[in-house]
């Protein structure tokens, strides 16, 4: 199977997280743009990943989001006429 650079980066970070509980070493090897693409790839494949790898992928996604300061980003969306509870039910 051919692996592109984004999948390779994601696999390396999952491996790093599995071995060390963090991605601090592997994340330094890639530019943030590529880390962000790897994060998007990981999120898009949560439902496709093997069951025994799903938890590792989710924890790697969490680590990537912290590394990329995404937990600091605040984006609130509202639709006038709908409250948040209704919006949640739409998902």
């Amino acid at each position: 199977m051919d692996l592109d650079i984004v999948s390779m980066a994601l696999n390396l970070m999952m491996s790093d997280f599995d071995d060390n509980g963090n991605i601090s070493q592997t994340s330094k090897q890639f530019p943030t743009g590529l880390l962000f693409e790897a994060l998007q790839r990981g999120k898009a494949n949560i439902s496709n990943v093997k069951a025994n790898h799903k938890n590792l992928l989710l924890r790697t996604i969490d680590a990537l989001e912290k590394n990329l300061h995404i937990n600091e980003t605040v984006i609130r969306c509202k639709i006038d006429g709908l409250d948040e509870d209704i919006m949640k039910e739409m998902v």
Partner: protein
């Protein structure tokens, strides 16, 4: 005189690149594609995945890029590579996977898609899956820890569709050992753009 945006932005300090390279600012003759006016738009399908990918174009793209060089000192933006595009600039933001913000972002994308007639063409391709983000001003909000922040207020595609993006708590840029040039934080860079192109209200 400062605008409400600039007075609430963290101060930007220019940081030298480890190895400056003038080529990163260069565009070949005739390659820039000016827009008719300043316009910010967001790729709607990506919002469902928690990603906010924005394009900004204006009538003087070369001037925008020159201002970035002079005032910011870097073309690079966090979560991307160079922000500079031949049509203007591009910015990525993202919200935490599985968060309420991510759910609401997905709901907003569905609401915009259900309207159908508010899509505009991408500045970079033939795809017609972007919606215009109209800047309405600065509002008060809270960050993810309940701390007060200032937020940019946008309407997307229709007046009822609101997106608020906090900017006052975010530093202008980051530079780690592995970065040659500093990388601007997307929220800060977005606020910088809005202050220059959309913010007409000023306060003393």
């Amino acid at each position: 005189m400062e605008s409400e945006i600039t007075s609430n932005m963290m101060k930007h300090e220019m940081t030298e690149a480890d190895n400056p390279n003038e080529d990163i600012w260069h565009w070949s003759e005739g390659s820039l594609k000016e827009g008719p006016y300043a316009q910010l738009s967001v790729k709607v399908p990506h919002m469902a995945g928690g990603k906010v990918h924005m394009q900004f174009t204006c009538a003087d793209v070369a001037g925008l890029h020159e201002d970035m060089k002079e005032h910011l000192g870097t073309p690079f933006v966090f979560l991307g590579e160079s922000a500079m595009r031949n049509y203007g600039v591009s910015i990525n933001l993202s919200v935490k996977h599985g968060s309420i913000d991510a759910n609401n972002l997905e709901s907003l994308s569905k609401a915009i898609e259900s309207d159908g007639d508010c899509f505009v063409q991408s500045c970079a391709s033939e795809a017609e899956d972007y919606a215009v983000m109209q800047f309405r001003g600065v509002v008060d909000g809270e960050d993810n820890n309940g701390v007060a922040v200032k937020m940019l207020d946008f309407r997307i595609g229709a007046e009822k569709n609101r997106m608020l993006i906090a900017f006052s708590h975010v530093p202008s840029a980051l530079k780690t050992e592995s970065m040659n040039y500093p990388e601007m934080r997307g929220e800060w860079f977005l606020a910088w753009l809005c202050s220059r192109y959309f913010d007409t209200q000023e306060e003393e």
